[in-house]
């Protein structure tokens, strides 16, 4: 039985190295043997997790569902053990230009909506799934313009959402989808000039990333890893820079109640079905 935590993480940005090098040094000081492996995309990471290359995976919400569903096919059980406070209760919004005559969801019928990359939970899958649940089927009731930036990184890269926002302002599309925090950020930085957009709809709340483990991980090792994370304090000047880089104030115990919207969406769209088939049939 290994006594080392080997974390899998997707290298969506150079700062990922800084973050996990920092955690590695901090865990070492706490006496926990910790290392990390970087992947170029979440699908590779989920497979590697099942192959035992890593024993903890820092998963996007879509990667979490991939792990959960793959586990179900292979007779393994995935668990979400820890998440960021900032990953809880997110919402996405669908935004239109002010004065364009689009004020409610029904007005989107027959229109064109810009979204992020096809695997972005917040900028594509959740808003499109949510619209579909309101009777607006993408491709049938409205057109979708996707921004396939950094596919495989599940929307961790902000580029797709920014492109969708620009499309909207430059009137190439009628509406755009993005996470609430990016609507605030794009409004504040002028990407969406003040007063130029209206929020047509806001999804219910959902959760984002989590640390995922599979059955079989050493219980004491996992307990040590989880308790160290939950014990990290923003007050601690050694830990604070790491938390700031990773965008949280404190770690919370993992919960899986916030993935239903995404689960519905990928079921509806069959987003990961062929991937699941391919991976679960591997020898």
């Amino acid at each position: 039985m290994t006594t080392q935590i080997v974390l899998g993480a997707v290298a969506y940005d150079p700062k990922v190295v800084t973050i996990w090098e920092g955690f590695k040094a901090w865990f070492a000081d706490q006496g926990l043997d910790f290392d990390y492996v970087l992947f170029s995309n979440y699908e590779r990471q989920v497979q590697a997790h099942f192959d035992g290359v890593c024993n903890v995976a820092w998963n996007s919400p879509l990667a979490w569902l991939e792990a959960e569903r793959l586990g179900a096919r292979l007779g393994r059980r995935a668990r979400a053990v820890v998440m960021r406070d900032s990953d809880c209760d997110l919402t996405s919004v669908v935004v239109a230009r002010a004065g364009a005559g689009i004020a409610k969801l029904e007005d989107l019928r027959g229109k064109t909506i810009a979204v992020g990359a096809s695997d972005s939970p917040q900028a594509t899958l959740i808003p499109l799934g949510w619209l579909a649940s309101h009777g607006l089927e993408p491709g049938r009731d409205f057109e979708v313009v996707k921004h396939e930036i950094a596919v495989g990184m599940h929307g961790d890269h902000v580029g797709g959402e920014r492109h969708a926002a620009r499309d909207l302002i430059e009137a190439r599309v009628d509406a755009a989808a993005m996470i609430d925090a990016n609507h605030l950020a794009f409004s504040a930085d002028g990407t969406l000039p003040a007063g130029s957009t209206v929020i047509v709809g806001q999804t219910p709340t959902y959760d984002h990333c989590n640390f995922t483990v599979l059955d079989g991980i050493d219980a004491a090792l996992l307990e040590r890893f989880v308790s160290l994370l939950l014990g990290q304090s923003f007050e601690d000047p050694r830990v604070r820079p790491l938390l700031e880089l990773e965008g949280l104030k404190r770690w919370l115990p993992g919960r899986t109640s916030g993935y239903a919207l995404l689960d519905d969406a990928i079921t509806r769209f069959g987003t990961i079905d062929s991937w699941l088939d391919t991976v679960s049939r591997r020898p």
């Binding site: 406070d85 609507h183 605030l184 003040a194 604070r240 820079p241």
Partner: protein, 389 residues
């Protein structure tokens, strides 16, 4: 529950400042209900609160619930000393912070080798800096570069040679404070400011001496091994007090006599103007050197012995060099003479001899101010480099 009305102001246009202020007025766990006309208010407030670790209820109207997470950044913060007076020792953990500022804990230590007040400080620092800042002059307008004059060829050559010598000395006088400037803890702000202005003074001197050298000639004059070797010993002195002693008190002190000599005997109005202005600057450099060395010597009884050793070592290092090069010496005589007429040469020669006596007197006076007795001052002055600086 506290209520905040943002009116038409959104969080995308600064509304968060008012939310933050309202949160500061409630205890941890306290609730602030936010009202406003911006249709995006609820969406933005949720995202803003989440990013800062505050609780959120969508309402309407939405409510933000204060947590202590944001305040935790300032737990363990320390004051970077006292704004009014520098500390005895500046901490590496204060980094570049303004004196007296509150510094977040966790800053990677920024090491400055000169971080002890007694090594560098003088209570006169603020006054000396203010005087220096007020006395800055613009080389373009402070000097009448178009002033008409015609010198005999040989006298112009002598002026160019003296300028050439001045330039390399001023380069050394720029580099020495600039090197120490980067080694002094910024807690001692006034000292950094003085050294920065000192370096800027020398930059101007280099400019005006170069401009005078090239006024009528295509190139400067001669640079000797002896002259440069003497200056190099200044650059190589690693100790701030000793470098300051050798450069400012002995070197620039002697230079002051030379500049006043040129201001008096310079054969053309431009030479007289630029050396007058440079002398005023150099006087401040000498004053700072004397001031902080007096302060230092009062606190470190062994400093005087170290200063004496430094003079002796420099003398030993330079005793096999030629000293002041003949080209410079002869150029000073000719420049003061103003012509080849034997009577004029004699007057010029006497003036240069008087200059050397004046330099020696000045050095002995300054050494006395640093607490050396008359005999020791005379001995040390006689060991000072023959190259003046």
């Amino acid at each position: 529950m506290k209520t905040l009305d943002l009116g038409g102001l959104g969080l995308d246009r600064g509304g968060h400042l008012l939310v933050r202020r309202a949160l500061a007025e409630v205890d941890v766990g306290g609730r602030v209900q936010v009202e406003g006309a911006d249709p995006a208010l609820g969406v933005h407030l949720r995202a803003w609160a989440r990013g800062r670790g505050h609780g959120f209820e969508p309402g309407p109207p939405p409510i933000v619930i204060r947590t202590s997470l944001e305040d935790q950044r300032w737990s363990g913060a320390v004051a970077a000393g006292d704004a009014a007076r520098p500390s005895e020792r500046a901490s590496a953990s204060w980094g570049l912070a303004a004196r007296g500022a509150r510094v977040e804990a966790g800053l990677a230590p920024l090491e400055f080798p000169l971080a002890t007040r007694d090594q560098i400080w003088t209570d006169d620092a603020a006054r000396l800096y203010a005087r220096a800042a007020a006395a800055q002059w613009d080389p373009e307008t402070a000097i009448d570069w178009g002033a008409p004059f015609e010198l005999p060829d040989a006298v112009e050559t002598a002026v160019v040679q003296v300028m050439t010598y001045l330039i390399e000395n001023e380069v050394a006088a720029l580099i020495v404070p600039a090197r120490f400037l980067a080694r002094i803890h910024p807690h001692f702000r006034e000292i950094l400011q003085i050294l920065a202005v000192q370096a800027a003074d020398e930059a101007r001197h280099i400019e005006v001496f170069t401009r005078r050298a090239l006024l009528k000639r295509p190139a400067p004059g001669l640079s000797t091994v002896g002259g440069q070797t003497s200056l190099r010993t200044l650059l190589e002195e690693p100790d701030f007090a000793l470098a300051s002693f050798l450069l400012s008190v002995l070197g620039e002190g002697s230079f002051l006599s030379l500049l006043w000599f040129l201001a008096e005997h310079g054969p053309d109005p431009i030479t007289r103007q630029i050396t007058t202005l440079a002398a005023q600057d150099e006087a401040r450099h000498v004053a700072f050197g004397l001031s902080h060395l007096q302060h230092h010597a009062e606190r470190e009884p062994g400093l005087r012995a170290r200063m004496a050793n430094a003079v002796e070592q420099r003398f030993a290092a330079l005793q096999h060099t030629a000293g002041l090069n003949e080209e410079v010496f002869d150029a000073l005589v000719l420049l003061a003479a103003g012509s080849w007429e034997p009577g004029a040469i004699a007057r010029g020669f006497d003036a240069v001899v008087a200059l050397r006596q004046d330099m020696d007197r000045g050095r002995r006076t300054r050494l006395a101010r640093l607490g050396f007795d008359a005999e020791e001052a005379e001995r040390l002055s006689s060991l000072h480099t023959r190259n003046f600086m």
